[in-house]
Protein backbone atom coordinates (compact mmCIF):
# COMPACT_ATOMS: atom_id res chain seq x y z
CA UNK A 1 0.00 0.00 0.00
CA UNK A 2 1.20 3.49 -0.83
CA UNK A 3 -0.51 6.63 0.42
CA UNK A 4 0.39 9.18 -2.25
CA UNK A 5 -1.05 12.45 -0.99
CA UNK A 6 -3.62 14.10 1.25
CA UNK A 7 -5.36 17.42 0.69
CA UNK A 8 -6.79 19.04 3.82
CA UNK A 9 -9.64 21.57 3.95
CA UNK A 10 -10.31 23.18 7.34
CA UNK A 11 -9.03 20.12 9.18
CA UNK A 12 -7.57 20.98 12.61
CA UNK A 13 -4.95 23.73 12.05
CA UNK A 14 -4.99 23.32 8.23
CA UNK A 15 -6.91 25.82 6.15
CA UNK A 16 -6.11 24.40 2.71
CA UNK A 17 -2.96 22.36 2.28
CA UNK A 18 -1.73 19.40 0.27
CA UNK A 19 0.95 17.00 1.47
CA UNK A 20 2.72 14.54 -0.81
CA UNK A 21 4.40 11.46 0.56
CA UNK A 22 7.27 9.20 -0.36
CA UNK A 23 6.63 5.45 -0.48
CA UNK A 24 9.49 5.05 2.03
CA UNK A 25 10.01 6.95 5.25
CA UNK A 26 8.27 10.26 5.74
CA UNK A 27 9.71 12.41 8.52
CA UNK A 28 7.18 15.04 9.54
CA UNK A 29 9.06 17.71 11.45
CA UNK A 30 7.84 20.80 13.29
CA UNK A 31 7.43 22.53 16.64
CA UNK A 32 4.63 21.89 19.09
CA UNK A 33 1.12 22.66 17.88
CA UNK A 34 2.11 22.99 14.21
CA UNK A 35 -0.02 20.05 13.02
CA UNK A 36 2.34 17.07 12.90
CA UNK A 37 0.13 14.60 14.72
CA UNK A 38 -2.92 15.78 12.73
CA UNK A 39 -1.29 14.26 9.64
CA UNK A 40 -1.01 10.88 11.40
CA UNK A 41 -4.55 11.34 12.70
CA UNK A 42 -5.94 11.73 9.19
CA UNK A 43 -4.10 8.62 7.93
CA UNK A 44 -5.42 6.67 10.90
CA UNK A 45 -8.95 7.85 10.08
CA UNK A 46 -8.63 6.56 6.50
CA UNK A 47 -7.79 3.14 7.95
CA UNK A 48 -10.25 2.92 10.85
CA UNK A 49 -12.77 5.77 10.23
CA UNK A 50 -12.02 7.06 13.75
CA UNK A 51 -9.49 9.43 15.28
CA UNK A 52 -7.08 8.12 17.91
CA UNK A 53 -7.05 11.47 19.70
CA UNK A 54 -10.71 12.33 20.15
CA UNK A 55 -14.14 10.79 19.81
CA UNK A 56 -15.70 14.12 18.89
CA UNK A 57 -15.56 15.09 15.21
CA UNK A 58 -16.51 18.69 15.93
CA UNK A 59 -13.10 19.14 17.60
CA UNK A 60 -11.45 18.41 14.24
CA UNK A 61 -13.07 21.36 12.47
CA UNK A 62 -10.79 24.37 12.07
CA UNK A 63 -11.68 27.31 14.29
CA UNK A 64 -14.57 29.41 12.89
CA UNK A 65 -15.31 26.95 10.06
CA UNK A 66 -18.37 24.76 9.63
CA UNK A 67 -16.95 21.63 8.02
CA UNK A 68 -13.73 19.76 7.41
CA UNK A 69 -12.65 17.37 4.71
CA UNK A 70 -9.56 15.60 3.53
CA UNK A 71 -9.08 13.89 0.20
CA UNK A 72 -6.34 11.40 -0.48
CA UNK A 73 -5.17 8.62 -2.74
CA UNK A 74 -3.97 5.18 -1.76
CA UNK A 75 -2.40 2.82 -4.26
CA UNK A 76 -3.34 -0.71 -3.20
CA UNK A 77 -3.69 -3.08 -6.14
CA UNK A 78 -5.34 -0.12 -7.88
CA UNK A 79 -5.67 3.54 -6.93
CA UNK A 80 -8.38 4.37 -4.41
CA UNK A 81 -9.60 7.91 -3.92
CA UNK A 82 -10.62 8.47 -0.32
CA UNK A 83 -12.52 11.38 1.13
CA UNK A 84 -13.74 12.10 4.64
CA UNK A 85 -16.16 14.96 5.03
CA UNK A 86 -17.77 16.25 8.21
CA UNK A 87 -20.37 18.99 8.49
CA UNK A 88 -20.79 20.72 11.82
CA UNK A 89 -24.41 21.71 11.06
CA UNK A 90 -25.49 18.19 10.20
CA UNK A 91 -23.21 16.74 12.88
CA UNK A 92 -22.44 13.95 10.43
CA UNK A 93 -19.25 12.46 9.06
CA UNK A 94 -19.23 10.69 5.70
CA UNK A 95 -16.46 8.45 4.40
CA UNK A 96 -16.26 8.14 0.61
CA UNK A 97 -14.25 5.42 -1.08
CA UNK A 98 -13.94 6.05 -4.80
CA UNK A 99 -16.79 8.58 -4.60
CA UNK A 100 -19.15 6.08 -3.00
CA UNK A 101 -20.24 6.56 0.63
CA UNK A 102 -19.14 3.85 3.05
CA UNK A 103 -21.98 2.98 5.41
CA UNK A 104 -20.34 0.72 7.97
CA UNK A 105 -16.91 0.97 9.57
CA UNK A 106 -16.54 -2.81 9.11
CA UNK A 107 -16.38 -2.19 5.32
CA UNK A 108 -13.10 -0.31 5.91
CA UNK A 109 -11.51 -1.87 9.01
CA UNK A 110 -8.85 -4.31 7.85
CA UNK A 111 -8.89 -3.05 4.22
CA UNK A 112 -6.11 -0.54 4.88
CA UNK A 113 -4.35 -1.95 7.94
CA UNK A 114 -2.49 0.47 10.17
CA UNK A 115 -0.11 0.29 13.12
CA UNK A 116 0.24 3.28 15.42
CA UNK A 117 3.02 3.73 17.95
CA UNK A 118 2.62 6.66 20.36
CA UNK A 119 3.96 7.63 23.78
CA UNK A 120 0.52 6.58 25.12
CA UNK A 121 1.61 2.97 24.49
CA UNK A 122 3.30 3.24 27.86
CA UNK A 123 -0.04 2.29 29.39
CA UNK A 124 0.05 -1.07 27.55
CA UNK A 125 3.12 -2.30 29.43
CA UNK A 126 2.76 -0.24 32.62
CA UNK A 127 -1.00 0.36 32.98
CA UNK A 128 -4.06 -1.68 33.90
CA UNK A 129 -5.06 -4.97 32.26
CA UNK A 130 -7.82 -3.09 30.42
CA UNK A 131 -5.17 -1.41 28.24
CA UNK A 132 -3.64 -4.75 27.28
CA UNK A 133 -7.04 -6.24 26.45
CA UNK A 134 -7.74 -3.16 24.29
CA UNK A 135 -4.47 -3.72 22.41
CA UNK A 136 -5.16 -7.42 21.83
CA UNK A 137 -8.82 -6.84 20.87
CA UNK A 138 -7.93 -4.10 18.39
CA UNK A 139 -5.28 -6.19 16.62
CA UNK A 140 -7.43 -9.32 16.33
CA UNK A 141 -10.44 -7.24 15.25
CA UNK A 142 -8.42 -5.68 12.40
CA UNK A 143 -7.70 -9.15 11.05
CA UNK A 144 -10.96 -10.95 11.91
CA UNK A 145 -14.46 -9.56 11.58
CA UNK A 146 -15.69 -12.76 13.25
CA UNK A 147 -13.74 -11.92 16.42
CA UNK A 148 -15.19 -8.41 16.46
CA UNK A 149 -18.72 -9.86 16.32
CA UNK A 150 -17.98 -12.31 19.15
CA UNK A 151 -16.55 -9.46 21.21
CA UNK A 152 -19.62 -7.25 20.72
CA UNK A 153 -21.86 -10.21 21.54
CA UNK A 154 -19.88 -10.98 24.70
CA UNK A 155 -19.97 -7.36 25.90
CA UNK A 156 -23.73 -7.22 25.38
CA UNK A 157 -24.13 -10.44 27.37
CA UNK A 158 -22.04 -8.93 30.19
CA UNK A 159 -24.29 -5.88 30.38
CA UNK A 160 -27.50 -7.94 30.32
CA UNK A 161 -26.19 -10.39 32.89
CA UNK A 162 -24.93 -7.65 35.26
CA UNK A 163 -28.34 -6.02 35.13
CA UNK A 164 -30.06 -9.34 35.85
CA UNK A 165 -27.69 -9.99 38.79
CA UNK A 166 -28.60 -6.66 40.38
CA UNK A 167 -32.30 -7.37 39.83
CA UNK A 168 -31.90 -10.72 41.59
CA UNK A 169 -30.16 -8.97 44.48
CA UNK A 170 -33.08 -6.53 44.78
CA UNK A 171 -35.95 -8.98 44.40
CA UNK A 172 -34.50 -12.38 45.31
CA UNK A 173 -36.86 -13.87 42.72
CA UNK A 174 -36.47 -17.61 42.08
CA UNK A 175 -37.60 -17.25 38.45
CA UNK A 176 -34.90 -14.68 37.73
CA UNK A 177 -32.32 -17.19 38.93
CA UNK A 178 -33.68 -19.66 36.33
CA UNK A 179 -33.14 -16.99 33.73
CA UNK A 180 -29.62 -16.36 35.07
CA UNK A 181 -28.68 -19.93 34.10
CA UNK A 182 -29.42 -19.11 30.45
CA UNK A 183 -27.32 -15.92 30.55
CA UNK A 184 -24.51 -17.83 32.25
CA UNK A 185 -24.57 -20.44 29.49
CA UNK A 186 -24.50 -17.69 26.86
CA UNK A 187 -21.57 -16.02 28.64
CA UNK A 188 -19.67 -19.30 28.69
CA UNK A 189 -20.35 -20.04 25.00
CA UNK A 190 -19.20 -16.63 23.77
CA UNK A 191 -16.43 -16.31 26.37
CA UNK A 192 -14.84 -19.61 25.34
CA UNK A 193 -14.79 -18.39 21.71
CA UNK A 194 -12.97 -15.20 22.75
CA UNK A 195 -10.46 -17.14 24.83
CA UNK A 196 -9.62 -19.51 21.99
CA UNK A 197 -9.10 -16.59 19.56
CA UNK A 198 -6.89 -14.79 22.11
CA UNK A 199 -4.84 -17.89 22.90
CA UNK A 200 -4.22 -18.52 19.21
CA UNK A 201 -3.31 -14.87 18.71
CA UNK A 202 -0.74 -14.85 21.53
CA UNK A 203 0.83 -18.04 20.17
CA UNK A 204 1.07 -16.54 16.70
CA UNK A 205 2.40 -13.23 18.02
CA UNK A 206 5.16 -14.82 20.08
CA UNK A 207 7.75 -15.38 17.30
CA UNK A 208 7.06 -11.87 15.95
CA UNK A 209 7.66 -10.34 19.41
CA UNK A 210 10.95 -12.18 19.75
CA UNK A 211 12.05 -11.18 16.26
CA UNK A 212 11.10 -7.51 16.78
CA UNK A 213 12.74 -7.31 20.18
CA UNK A 214 16.04 -8.63 18.86
CA UNK A 215 15.94 -6.15 15.97
CA UNK A 216 15.57 -3.17 18.28
CA UNK A 217 17.77 -4.21 21.16
CA UNK A 218 21.19 -5.79 20.73
CA UNK A 219 21.02 -7.09 24.28
CA UNK A 220 20.54 -10.80 24.70
CA UNK A 221 17.07 -10.50 26.18
CA UNK A 222 14.19 -12.85 25.54
CA UNK A 223 10.70 -11.37 25.70
CA UNK A 224 7.59 -13.51 26.21
CA UNK A 225 3.90 -13.12 26.89
CA UNK A 226 1.78 -15.21 29.23
CA UNK A 227 -1.95 -15.21 28.55
CA UNK A 228 -3.66 -15.19 31.91
CA UNK A 229 -7.27 -16.33 31.63
CA UNK A 230 -9.72 -18.37 33.72
CA UNK A 231 -7.77 -21.59 33.17
CA UNK A 232 -4.67 -22.86 31.40
CA UNK A 233 -6.47 -26.10 30.66
CA UNK A 234 -7.80 -25.88 27.14
CA UNK A 235 -9.60 -29.19 26.86
CA UNK A 236 -12.43 -28.69 29.31
CA UNK A 237 -12.65 -24.93 29.33
CA UNK A 238 -16.46 -24.63 29.00
CA UNK A 239 -17.07 -26.96 31.90
CA UNK A 240 -14.45 -25.24 34.06
CA UNK A 241 -15.78 -21.75 33.27
CA UNK A 242 -19.35 -22.86 34.05
CA UNK A 243 -18.29 -24.46 37.34
CA UNK A 244 -16.42 -21.30 38.29
CA UNK A 245 -19.43 -19.09 37.60
CA UNK A 246 -21.68 -21.44 39.57
CA UNK A 247 -19.31 -21.33 42.56
CA UNK A 248 -19.27 -17.52 42.35
CA UNK A 249 -23.03 -17.16 42.04
CA UNK A 250 -23.66 -15.83 45.56
CA UNK A 251 -20.86 -13.30 45.30
CA UNK A 252 -21.98 -12.22 41.83
CA UNK A 253 -25.52 -11.61 43.07
CA UNK A 254 -24.25 -9.74 46.14
CA UNK A 255 -22.16 -7.45 43.94
CA UNK A 256 -24.49 -7.32 40.96
CA UNK A 257 -21.47 -7.87 38.71
CA UNK A 258 -19.84 -10.44 36.42
CA UNK A 259 -16.89 -11.72 38.43
CA UNK A 260 -15.22 -14.18 36.04
CA UNK A 261 -14.59 -14.42 32.33
CA UNK A 262 -12.37 -13.14 29.53
CA UNK A 263 -13.27 -9.54 30.47
CA UNK A 264 -10.90 -10.12 33.41
CA UNK A 265 -8.11 -11.57 31.23
CA UNK A 266 -4.61 -10.18 31.38
CA UNK A 267 -1.49 -10.52 29.27
CA UNK A 268 1.65 -10.62 31.37
CA UNK A 269 4.88 -9.49 29.73
CA UNK A 270 8.21 -11.05 30.68
CA UNK A 271 11.85 -10.36 29.86
CA UNK A 272 14.21 -13.24 30.58
CA UNK A 273 11.48 -14.77 32.71
CA UNK A 274 11.10 -11.68 34.92
CA UNK A 275 7.85 -9.76 34.94
CA UNK A 276 8.30 -6.52 33.03
CA UNK A 277 5.71 -4.54 34.99
CA UNK A 278 7.50 -5.17 38.30
CA UNK A 279 11.16 -5.49 37.35
CA UNK A 280 11.51 -3.75 33.97
CA UNK A 281 13.62 -0.61 33.45
CA UNK A 282 12.19 2.37 31.51
CA UNK A 283 14.29 1.31 28.52
CA UNK A 284 12.95 -2.25 28.62
CA UNK A 285 9.37 -0.93 28.82
CA UNK A 286 9.96 1.26 25.79
CA UNK A 287 11.63 -1.55 23.81
CA UNK A 288 8.75 -3.87 24.65
CA UNK A 289 6.16 -1.30 23.52
CA UNK A 290 7.95 -0.83 20.20
CA UNK A 291 8.28 -4.62 19.81
CA UNK A 292 4.55 -5.06 20.37
CA UNK A 293 3.78 -2.63 17.56
CA UNK A 294 6.31 -4.23 15.20
CA UNK A 295 4.88 -7.63 16.08
CA UNK A 296 1.42 -6.24 15.31
CA UNK A 297 2.81 -5.12 11.95
CA UNK A 298 4.13 -8.61 11.11
CA UNK A 299 0.96 -10.27 12.35
CA UNK A 300 -1.35 -8.08 10.25
CA UNK A 301 0.95 -8.42 7.26
CA UNK A 302 0.73 -12.20 7.47
CA UNK A 303 -3.05 -12.28 8.08
CA UNK A 304 -4.04 -9.67 5.51
CA UNK A 305 -1.30 -10.15 2.95
CA UNK A 306 -0.30 -6.49 2.77
CA UNK A 307 2.04 -4.09 4.55
CA UNK A 308 0.18 -1.94 7.07
CA UNK A 309 0.97 1.78 7.25
CA UNK A 310 3.31 2.44 10.15
CA UNK A 311 2.66 5.62 12.14
CA UNK A 312 5.15 6.71 14.82
CA UNK A 313 4.12 9.71 16.85
CA UNK A 314 6.91 11.46 18.73
CA UNK A 315 8.60 8.20 19.65
CA UNK A 316 12.28 8.80 18.85
CA UNK A 317 12.52 11.49 21.51
CA UNK A 318 12.27 8.85 24.18
CA UNK A 319 14.69 6.34 22.67
CA UNK A 320 18.45 6.26 22.66
CA UNK A 321 20.35 6.77 19.39
CA UNK A 322 21.15 3.13 18.91
CA UNK A 323 17.54 1.99 19.09
CA UNK A 324 16.29 4.90 16.95
CA UNK A 325 18.75 4.01 14.19
CA UNK A 326 17.81 0.33 14.40
CA UNK A 327 14.12 1.20 14.12
CA UNK A 328 14.44 3.61 11.20
CA UNK A 329 16.77 1.26 9.27
CA UNK A 330 14.29 -1.47 9.80
CA UNK A 331 11.25 0.63 8.84
CA UNK A 332 12.94 1.46 5.56
CA UNK A 333 12.76 -2.19 4.58
CA UNK A 334 9.12 -2.79 5.36
CA UNK A 335 7.27 -0.12 3.43
CA UNK A 336 5.66 3.21 3.97
CA UNK A 337 6.01 4.83 7.38
CA UNK A 338 5.16 8.22 8.85
CA UNK A 339 7.28 9.56 11.68
CA UNK A 340 6.77 12.80 13.57
CA UNK A 341 9.77 14.58 15.12
CA UNK A 342 9.99 17.92 16.90
CA UNK A 343 13.36 18.87 15.47
CA UNK A 344 15.35 16.96 12.87
CA UNK A 345 18.68 18.52 13.93
CA UNK A 346 18.61 16.28 17.00
CA UNK A 347 18.30 13.26 14.76
CA UNK A 348 21.20 13.74 12.35
CA UNK A 349 22.18 10.17 13.14
CA UNK A 350 19.10 8.95 11.27
CA UNK A 351 20.96 9.16 7.93
CA UNK A 352 18.27 9.84 5.37
CA UNK A 353 18.27 7.64 2.31
CA UNK A 354 17.27 8.84 -1.14
CA UNK A 355 13.75 7.61 -0.94
CA UNK A 356 13.04 9.26 2.43
CA UNK A 357 11.23 12.54 2.59
CA UNK A 358 11.62 15.31 5.11
CA UNK A 359 8.41 17.33 5.44
CA UNK A 360 8.50 20.49 7.56
CA UNK A 361 5.25 21.62 9.08
CA UNK A 362 4.86 25.25 10.06
CA UNK A 363 1.52 26.73 11.18
CA UNK A 364 -0.48 24.49 8.87
CA UNK A 365 1.65 24.58 5.73
CA UNK A 366 4.12 22.06 4.35
CA UNK A 367 7.52 22.38 2.74
CA UNK A 368 9.87 19.64 1.60
CA UNK A 369 13.62 19.58 2.16
Amino acid sequence: MFLKWIKFENFRIYDSATIEFSDGLNFIVGGNGQGKTSVLESIYMYCTTKSFRTSSDSELVRFNCDSYSFDGQILDTVNHNLRIFYSLNEGKKTYFKDSKPVHRATEIIGKFPVVLLTPDDHSITAGYSLERRKFVDSVISQSSEMYLKHLLDYNKTLRQRADLLSKIRETGSRELIDQLDAWTEKLVQTGVELISYRRKFINELDPFIKKSYSLISNKKEAPSIYYKTISDDQTDLSRFFLAKLNSLQKAEIAKGANLAGPHKDDFVFFINGKELKTYGSQGQHKTFQVSLRFAQFFYLKEKLGKNPFFLLDDVFGELDTERSVAISDFLREIGQAFITLTDFSNFKFLKRSENDRLISVDKGSFCYG
Binding site: L176, A182, E185
Partner: protein, 198 residues
Protein backbone atom coordinates in the same frame (compact mmCIF):
# COMPACT_ATOMS: atom_id res chain seq x y z
CA UNK B 1 -45.12 30.04 12.18
CA UNK B 2 -48.73 29.15 12.96
CA UNK B 3 -50.47 26.11 11.53
CA UNK B 4 -54.21 25.51 11.75
CA UNK B 5 -54.88 23.39 14.83
CA UNK B 6 -56.61 20.45 13.04
CA UNK B 7 -53.69 20.12 10.61
CA UNK B 8 -51.15 20.38 13.43
CA UNK B 9 -53.01 17.66 15.35
CA UNK B 10 -52.73 15.26 12.38
CA UNK B 11 -49.03 16.12 11.94
CA UNK B 12 -48.36 15.47 15.63
CA UNK B 13 -50.17 12.12 15.52
CA UNK B 14 -48.35 10.98 12.37
CA UNK B 15 -44.95 11.99 13.79
CA UNK B 16 -45.42 9.32 16.45
CA UNK B 17 -45.14 6.60 13.76
CA UNK B 18 -41.88 4.69 13.51
CA UNK B 19 -39.65 6.02 10.74
CA UNK B 20 -41.69 9.19 10.27
CA UNK B 21 -40.20 12.57 11.12
CA UNK B 22 -41.95 15.94 11.33
CA UNK B 23 -41.35 16.80 7.66
CA UNK B 24 -42.72 13.51 6.35
CA UNK B 25 -45.65 13.85 8.74
CA UNK B 26 -46.40 17.27 7.28
CA UNK B 27 -46.31 15.91 3.72
CA UNK B 28 -48.62 13.06 4.66
CA UNK B 29 -51.04 15.38 6.46
CA UNK B 30 -51.20 17.71 3.44
CA UNK B 31 -51.72 14.67 1.20
CA UNK B 32 -54.64 13.56 3.39
CA UNK B 33 -56.11 17.07 3.22
CA UNK B 34 -56.32 16.84 -0.57
CA UNK B 35 -58.03 13.44 -0.60
CA UNK B 36 -61.76 12.93 -1.04
CA UNK B 37 -63.71 12.54 2.22
CA UNK B 38 -64.80 9.01 1.19
CA UNK B 39 -61.17 7.93 0.92
CA UNK B 40 -60.43 9.39 4.34
CA UNK B 41 -63.38 7.60 5.87
CA UNK B 42 -62.33 4.33 4.31
CA UNK B 43 -58.83 4.81 5.79
CA UNK B 44 -60.27 5.62 9.21
CA UNK B 45 -62.46 2.52 8.99
CA UNK B 46 -59.54 0.29 8.03
CA UNK B 47 -57.42 1.58 10.91
CA UNK B 48 -60.26 1.26 13.37
CA UNK B 49 -60.94 -2.34 12.22
CA UNK B 50 -57.32 -3.14 13.13
CA UNK B 51 -58.17 -2.67 16.78
CA UNK B 52 -61.82 -3.71 16.75
CA UNK B 53 -61.72 -6.78 14.55
CA UNK B 54 -58.24 -8.09 15.20
CA UNK B 55 -57.12 -9.75 18.38
CA UNK B 56 -54.66 -12.43 19.31
CA UNK B 57 -55.04 -16.15 18.80
CA UNK B 58 -55.63 -17.69 22.23
CA UNK B 59 -53.38 -20.61 21.35
CA UNK B 60 -50.33 -19.18 19.58
CA UNK B 61 -50.72 -15.37 20.04
CA UNK B 62 -50.55 -14.70 16.34
CA UNK B 63 -52.92 -12.02 15.01
CA UNK B 64 -56.42 -13.34 14.59
CA UNK B 65 -59.96 -12.31 13.73
CA UNK B 66 -61.45 -15.06 15.88
CA UNK B 67 -60.45 -17.10 18.92
CA UNK B 68 -58.07 -19.23 16.87
CA UNK B 69 -55.92 -17.78 14.09
CA UNK B 70 -56.14 -19.13 10.53
CA UNK B 71 -53.06 -21.28 11.09
CA UNK B 72 -54.20 -22.90 14.36
CA UNK B 73 -57.70 -23.41 12.92
CA UNK B 74 -56.39 -25.12 9.79
CA UNK B 75 -56.80 -28.93 10.18
CA UNK B 76 -54.10 -29.67 7.59
CA UNK B 77 -51.35 -28.05 9.68
CA UNK B 78 -49.09 -30.39 11.62
CA UNK B 79 -49.78 -29.79 15.31
CA UNK B 80 -46.82 -31.88 16.45
CA UNK B 81 -44.24 -29.36 15.22
CA UNK B 82 -44.13 -26.09 17.10
CA UNK B 83 -42.13 -23.13 15.82
CA UNK B 84 -41.29 -20.55 18.49
CA UNK B 85 -40.82 -17.00 17.17
CA UNK B 86 -40.20 -13.61 18.73
CA UNK B 87 -42.80 -11.56 16.91
CA UNK B 88 -45.77 -11.65 14.54
CA UNK B 89 -43.58 -10.36 11.69
CA UNK B 90 -41.51 -13.56 12.00
CA UNK B 91 -44.66 -15.65 11.46
CA UNK B 92 -45.32 -13.68 8.28
CA UNK B 93 -41.72 -14.25 7.06
CA UNK B 94 -41.79 -17.99 7.71
CA UNK B 95 -45.29 -18.35 6.22
CA UNK B 96 -44.12 -16.58 3.04
CA UNK B 97 -41.44 -19.22 2.62
CA UNK B 98 -44.18 -21.93 2.38
CA UNK B 99 -41.62 -24.38 3.79
CA UNK B 100 -43.25 -24.88 7.16
CA UNK B 101 -46.48 -26.74 7.77
CA UNK B 102 -46.43 -26.86 11.56
CA UNK B 103 -47.86 -24.38 14.03
CA UNK B 104 -46.39 -21.33 15.76
CA UNK B 105 -45.97 -19.82 19.18
CA UNK B 106 -45.35 -16.06 19.33
CA UNK B 107 -43.36 -15.12 22.43
CA UNK B 108 -43.90 -11.39 22.04
CA UNK B 109 -40.24 -10.53 22.67
CA UNK B 110 -37.02 -11.95 24.06
CA UNK B 111 -35.38 -11.94 27.49
CA UNK B 112 -33.61 -8.63 28.09
CA UNK B 113 -32.92 -7.58 31.70
CA UNK B 114 -31.68 -4.17 30.52
CA UNK B 115 -35.08 -3.46 28.96
CA UNK B 116 -36.88 -4.99 31.93
CA UNK B 117 -38.17 -7.99 29.96
CA UNK B 118 -38.34 -11.18 32.05
CA UNK B 119 -39.93 -14.55 31.34
CA UNK B 120 -43.21 -13.33 32.87
CA UNK B 121 -43.48 -10.65 30.19
CA UNK B 122 -43.27 -13.26 27.44
CA UNK B 123 -45.72 -16.02 26.53
CA UNK B 124 -43.40 -18.63 28.02
CA UNK B 125 -45.86 -19.99 30.59
CA UNK B 126 -48.39 -20.53 27.77
CA UNK B 127 -45.69 -22.21 25.67
CA UNK B 128 -44.81 -24.54 28.55
CA UNK B 129 -48.49 -25.46 28.95
CA UNK B 130 -48.69 -26.37 25.26
CA UNK B 131 -45.50 -28.41 25.45
CA UNK B 132 -46.44 -30.21 28.71
CA UNK B 133 -49.88 -31.10 27.38
CA UNK B 134 -48.08 -33.55 25.10
CA UNK B 135 -48.50 -34.49 21.47
CA UNK B 136 -45.57 -32.34 20.43
CA UNK B 137 -42.73 -34.05 18.64
CA UNK B 138 -40.47 -31.10 17.83
CA UNK B 139 -39.94 -27.55 19.07
CA UNK B 140 -38.13 -25.26 16.62
CA UNK B 141 -36.46 -22.28 18.25
CA UNK B 142 -36.65 -19.68 15.48
CA UNK B 143 -35.48 -16.63 17.42
CA UNK B 144 -33.14 -14.01 16.00
CA UNK B 145 -29.45 -15.00 16.27
CA UNK B 146 -28.55 -11.93 18.37
CA UNK B 147 -27.40 -11.87 22.00
CA UNK B 148 -30.88 -11.77 23.53
CA UNK B 149 -32.47 -14.15 21.01
CA UNK B 150 -29.77 -16.78 21.53
CA UNK B 151 -30.02 -16.51 25.31
CA UNK B 152 -33.81 -16.91 25.16
CA UNK B 153 -33.29 -20.02 23.01
CA UNK B 154 -30.83 -21.36 25.62
CA UNK B 155 -33.40 -20.69 28.34
CA UNK B 156 -36.17 -22.55 26.49
CA UNK B 157 -33.88 -25.44 25.52
CA UNK B 158 -32.97 -25.92 29.18
CA UNK B 159 -36.63 -25.78 30.17
CA UNK B 160 -37.68 -28.61 27.85
CA UNK B 161 -34.51 -30.68 27.63
CA UNK B 162 -35.74 -33.53 29.86
CA UNK B 163 -39.09 -34.00 28.14
CA UNK B 164 -37.81 -36.20 25.33
CA UNK B 165 -38.87 -33.69 22.72
CA UNK B 166 -36.71 -32.90 19.70
CA UNK B 167 -35.44 -29.34 20.09
CA UNK B 168 -33.96 -27.64 17.03
CA UNK B 169 -32.90 -24.17 15.94
CA UNK B 170 -32.69 -22.55 12.53
CA UNK B 171 -29.50 -23.04 10.51
CA UNK B 172 -27.06 -20.16 10.21
CA UNK B 173 -25.19 -19.39 7.04
CA UNK B 174 -25.29 -18.18 3.48
CA UNK B 175 -28.41 -16.56 2.03
CA UNK B 176 -29.96 -18.55 -0.81
CA UNK B 177 -29.00 -17.28 -4.25
CA UNK B 178 -26.32 -15.22 -2.54
CA UNK B 179 -22.76 -15.02 -3.64
CA UNK B 180 -20.09 -16.08 -1.15
CA UNK B 181 -18.12 -13.12 -2.43
CA UNK B 182 -20.76 -10.67 -1.20
CA UNK B 183 -21.53 -12.24 2.19
CA UNK B 184 -19.90 -10.64 5.21
CA UNK B 185 -17.01 -12.42 6.89
CA UNK B 186 -18.98 -13.46 9.98
CA UNK B 187 -21.75 -15.06 7.90
CA UNK B 188 -19.25 -16.99 5.77
CA UNK B 189 -17.46 -18.01 8.99
CA UNK B 190 -20.69 -19.39 10.48
CA UNK B 191 -21.46 -21.18 7.22
CA UNK B 192 -18.03 -22.86 7.19
CA UNK B 193 -18.34 -23.88 10.84
CA UNK B 194 -21.88 -25.17 10.35
CA UNK B 195 -21.13 -27.05 7.11
CA UNK B 196 -23.16 -30.17 6.32
CA UNK B 197 -22.24 -33.55 4.80
CA UNK B 198 -23.06 -33.68 1.11
Amino acid sequence: MQIAAPLQAVIDELSKFPGIGSKTARRLALYLLKRDISEIESLIGAISDLKHKLGFCTKCFNLSESELCVICANPSRDNTILCVVEDITDVISIEKSSEFNGVYHVLGGVLSPLNGVTQDDLKIKELSERVMRGGIYEVILALNPDTEGETTSLYLARLYKDLGIKITRLAKGLPVGGNIEFADEATVGKAVKGRLPY
